[in-house]
Symmetry: C2
Subunit: 148 residues, 2 copies
């Protein structure tokens, strides 16, 4: 199978790399990248333990880094890729940034934003289920390790 260099899957693989860094550092393994004009302009993984800061989710760090790169707090030409369904906080941040698209991998029924309705910006498109199994598998690994 050949994969387009610019496919959702390909960008999600980069987000998964970030998630694996989180796993290595014993953080909940969620990774994110922000893409503009086909180029990855920000990469981040969850660092809530290391930074002792609940706001340090992968998406938040990636959106802040992307805004810094673009020089604009609005990211209307950007797509946020994240391995797991964003929480309410991160959905809220993507609302304010007015991102063009949010693409996530695995659903998160308990802490994901979707059970609270559509919290995204009306102009934001949503795509789900991209590399969902790989994304969910990392989460399972993390929680299995932690229970030991």
């Amino acid at each position: 199978m050949t994969l387009s260099l610019y496919s959702d899957e390909q960008y999600m693989r980069e987000a998964l790399k970030q998630a694996r860094y989180a796993l290595q550092e014993e953080e909940i393994p969620i990774g994110a990248v922000v893409v503009m004009d086909k180029q990855i302009i920000a990469r981040a993984y969850n660092q809530t333990e290391k930074l002792r800061d609940v706001t340090a989710h992968a998406e938040m760090l990636a959106l802040t880094a992307a805004a810094n790169y673009v020089g604009n707090k609005y990211l209307a030409d950007c797509t946020l890729y994240v391995t797991v369904e964003p929480c309410v906080m991160c959905a809220g941040a993507s609302f304010w940034a007015q991102v063009k698209r949010v693409v996530y991998g695995a659903a998160e029924e308990k802490r994901g934003f979707r059970r609270h309705g559509n919290l995204l910006h009306p102009r934001t498109e949503l795509a789900t289920g991209i590399l969902a199994d790989e994304s969910a598998e990392l989460m399972r690994q993390f929680f299995a390790q932690r229970r030991k």
Copy 2:
């Protein structure tokens, strides 16, 4: 009238001071403080323009500063005072931090979290309407200036 040093009103006055700093810097005038054991451990005001970062709401900056002070991402003994009803993002952050109480001044019917249901942590108490008029007046001033 004598005001208790440790009343909600008194802490909200400190949050209002922060909101006024925001107004001076042409930011949307919202201020926040975090209180633990009757002591203010963090103060912040909205800096989304200066930092070009949608995540730089007063509450987010205050929660991050408070976690840094406490050395713990959980703020279960802390009260977050904020002059205006938090948005979805900030309600989500206070959920993750498991703050003991959220106290806000003015309601924000359009962008406040409450229209999306109760997004706070089940253990978080909510108090509203503390110095609501002063808080709302600052917002009115800001938007009146901006329309000119």
